[in-house]
Amino acid sequence: MSDYRIQGATGEWEVVIGLEVHAQVTSNAKLFSGAATAFGAEPNSQVSLVDAAMPGMLPVPNKECIRQAVRTGMALEAQINRWSRFDRKNYFYADLPQGYQISQLYHPLVGEGAIEVAVDEKNPDATKTIGVERIHVEQDAGKLMHDQHPTRSYVDLNRSGVALMEIVSRPDMRSPAEAGAYLRKLRNVLRYVGSCDGNMEEGSMRADVNVSVRRPGEPFGTRTETKNVNSVRFVMQAIEHEASRQVDVLEGGGQIVQETRLFNPDTGTTRSMRSKEDAHDYRYFPDPDLLPLELDDAFLEECRASLPELPDAKRRRYEAAGVSPYNAGVLTAEVETARWFDALLEAGSDAKQASNWVAAELFGALNRLGRSIEDCPVSPAQAAELLKLVADGTLSGSLAKQVFEVMLETGDDAGKIVEERGLKQTSDTGAIEAEIAKVIAANADKVAEYRSGKDKLFGFFVGQTMKAMGGKANPGVVNELLKKALG
């Protein structure tokens, strides 16, 4: 992956990527006001006088937003700053009622951390570490709508003041795929922690994509920042487009200007954002309406104690329990899957057997049904019962498949289905021996061939016997008895 190169007319180029991810903090109320944060409400219905920056209004921080950002930092094993402070970032725009965004520049809540990213899907243990420079907490802006009126833009402040974590990576990524993997992993960790729902369609996660190119081994080039890209695929597209655009400019003898760009999802291209000022001067200074934020031991302890098992630890635990590395990666890639799988293990299933079944049978079924694990028609407890029936020999693999199909259709428990439909596998040696005798009698020629050395025919006899048994014979017993009968 890190050998991703852009082939220019004059040789190879390397791309350098850093991401600033804005993740909406999961909270009921806004960062500095008591207005709700729910998505999709009527315009300006979730706006307090504070969010509308009425004269004399003051911010009071929401503890949960601070808590979630701290927990996120802990999940990334980052430095948690016990003393941090809010600063004002001053600029004028119609989506910014105060004329400044309350953010953290000089003393962010969370300092350096890192994310391990899988660089090979087949081998989750092959990882690369992407540095996280900082996480700070800040307010979201409102929303402007430009297509409602010929000469006016409409302003909706519902999002104004919603809490965001800005997670700033180091410029450690070297390919669109690495950036994609970083984003997916970050999203996954946030969802495990519960600090952000990771819903990119609803804008809960957006990335500012910093891209520059250079000759391999040379110092960093000038970067551009493509703002507010809202899906993993778009981020990868934006990088690809921006990198090759920069190579074209440089090879054409031009220079890259440090600028803000916009991504167009319809064309997969980026363009310069003309409406923003040429030279930003945000005049950051500490917000005098807020005192420094000081965190005590009890608060930090609670944050740490409430952290769930994170994807990497979970993956290692699954592997140690006998799950293949690939399956362990798949099972931990989404928090809902991991939760489902953990419930299955808690219900007593063997990790290896269960992981194979989930990866093959359950995912297959969900795929067919177009369902997600959250609305899986079969509960982990039901699945555990099914797996138990396989483990104790009550059901063969193929019977288990049949039973599972019925479970998906009816929602009934495996035991009940087995009972009602007589799908129990038999290990009754007498019955099996009787059928074997009939098969041998009816296929004398094949028996002779087998005895003269054509070993491959053994499968034929197993198939015939199983067929005669209506599929319910225990395959192990069949094998054993056939070997004996055929000599």
């Binding site: 109320a29 207005a35 706006v47 302003v155 003309r274 005049r283 500490p286 005192l291």
Partner: protein, 95 residues
């Protein structure tokens, strides 16, 4: 440090205050006067001094995560110079 008219215009632009050439001309000596006066602060030896962060020793209080506000669109829009369909409106912005 002293400011020239171009700087005064840049500052006015940053502060979103429209000023004419004449006003910029008039502001320049005035701002220089004030800046010259406040620059006496440079005399003070502040090495090793932490900038003040809180006037009175006091810790930042955090509030609970409860929805206690909002749902007051009429009040929010009541003083708007221009509002339509529940939105504030501004001259069309091209991004």
């Amino acid at each position: 440090m002293s400011v020239d008219e171009a700087t005064v215009k840049r500052i006015a632009k940053l502060a979103r205050i429209a000023i004419s050439d004449e006003e910029a001309h008039h502001y320049t000596p005035e701002l220089n006067n004030i800046l010259g006066w406040i620059e006496q602060l440079g005399e003070v030896d502040t090495s090793g001094v932490e900038p003040m962060t809180a006037v009175i020793p006091n810790k930042l209080r955090l509030r609970e995560d409860e929805v206690t506000d909002g749902g007051i669109r009429d009040q929010v829009l009541a003083n708007a110079p221009q509002a339509e369909h529940g939105f504030f409106t501004v001259p069309k912005v091209i991004e």
